[in-house]
Symmetry: C2
Subunit: 234 residues, 2 copies
Amino acid sequence: MGIVRTIRQSPLFQSIENETAESLAAHCRQRKLDKARELFAMGDEANAFFIIQKGWIKLYRISKDGEETIIHVFGPGESFAEAAVFSDRKMYPVNAQAVEDVELVEIPRNYFIKKIEEDSRFALRMLGAIAARQHYLVQQLEQVTNRTAPQRIGAFLLRFCQKEPGTKEGSLTVHLPYDKLIISRRLNIKAETFSRALTKLTPYGVEADGRSVTISNPKALAEFCEVDFKDIPC
Amino acid sequence: MGIVRTIRQSPLFQSIENETAESLAAHCRQRKLDKARELFAMGDEANAFFIIQKGWIKLYRISKDGEETIIHVFGPGESFAEAAVFSDRKMYPVNAQAVEDVELVEIPRNYFIKKIEEDSRFALRMLGAIAARQHYLVQQLEQVTNRTAPQRIGAFLLRFCQKEPGTKEGSLTVHLPYDKLIISRRLNIKAETFSRALTKLTPYGVEADGRSVTISNPKALAEFCEVDFKDIPC
DNA sequence: AGCTGGTCTTGATTTAGATCAAGTCCGGCA
DNA sequence: TGCCGGACTTGATCTAAATCAAGACCAGCT
């Protein structure tokens, strides 16, 4: 897909003029990364932010004793690391790595900041986008601390069920977008606990077979996980 | 303290012209809240954000089963709820309540957004401030999930030790800014566990007497809590 | 084919922290 | 003065999840 189209489809830029989009695109670079490749490391100079065209990128930190915490996993259509570009320290505060083969657009810091200085509508959009991200983090914080492992897993499944159309009346299929290991770390659950917690969801009609999961009773699952049924994408 | 001075001292506005500061101040309102008073509730229209002059405000959510999660507690000099003002939903995503008697400045949304549209330098400052807030949330997320209760408490103490000058060579005194109950909720620890965890810090020279805490071996405590000694404010 | 390394599961045991329960301490106030 | 309620502590017990350990399953490779 072309850079211009990707840019135009991103919520950040959806209402900009054609001309602006093209001039922006001319300053951007398209990049590909194989699974497990690093995009940037914590402490690197934040010279760009990104929009994903294909694949998945995890943002994570490594603690002193080598433990990995996944802050977020971004997928197609999403942009990330905007905040780093604006921070005073001008550094990425996290690491970024591909968890599946990835294609993305790199938007350079300097040109972009110039654009914002010229056009404050841009700035307001940016502020809105970052505010939304912050909102997500707050929810994440609430989830991790107040919900059990099975609840978090259930909520995750329901959040991704739009990726695959339901096969039967009322029942859903989810194709997991990346490894269970990554999912478990993202939800702050050890791999063993993840495996067990998943089986605890059978009463709600959850059946896993490799990377595809069927949910025969989504409503009951939503209830159990304390997610609003109307927040479910499908 | 006057509104203008408060505004000028906030990181958000520290580099604006005198004239601008005064015109902004003219549109702001000064407010006082007694301890335990609500400032706004989740879902309220986000018509303003705030700078604290005195006291402490907690941002929190209530889960379906009545449990309170504290997202953040803000103190003197800090601003909060900027992000809500920019979000598309134009609503506060959390509740806000005074945990001590509070004085603050209320900055109205509309006038402020107008200012941003007029002056993009404003916008960049804003972006930087919100980015920093986001950084804080990421750290918070990492802390809550990867550290034990005693470690989180120790880190909290070290973070607030600047509030009180040390009494003895190498040893520190911290005057807790608000109730232990609030602190424990902020750190996602039950009150009983908090009490016990605090006593587990005695090997590092932590001695509590009501709201004042002395730390006779800050270095060892920092080591135990895995915080960089250079991040400690005193 | 058979080996290898990664992903995932299953089982036994441990542990940090929650929960339940009972008190102490303290400040406000009638 | 004595009572009340909220803040805090201490103890006994319970439980979700981590940890330790072993094996199953699968894909890629030589």
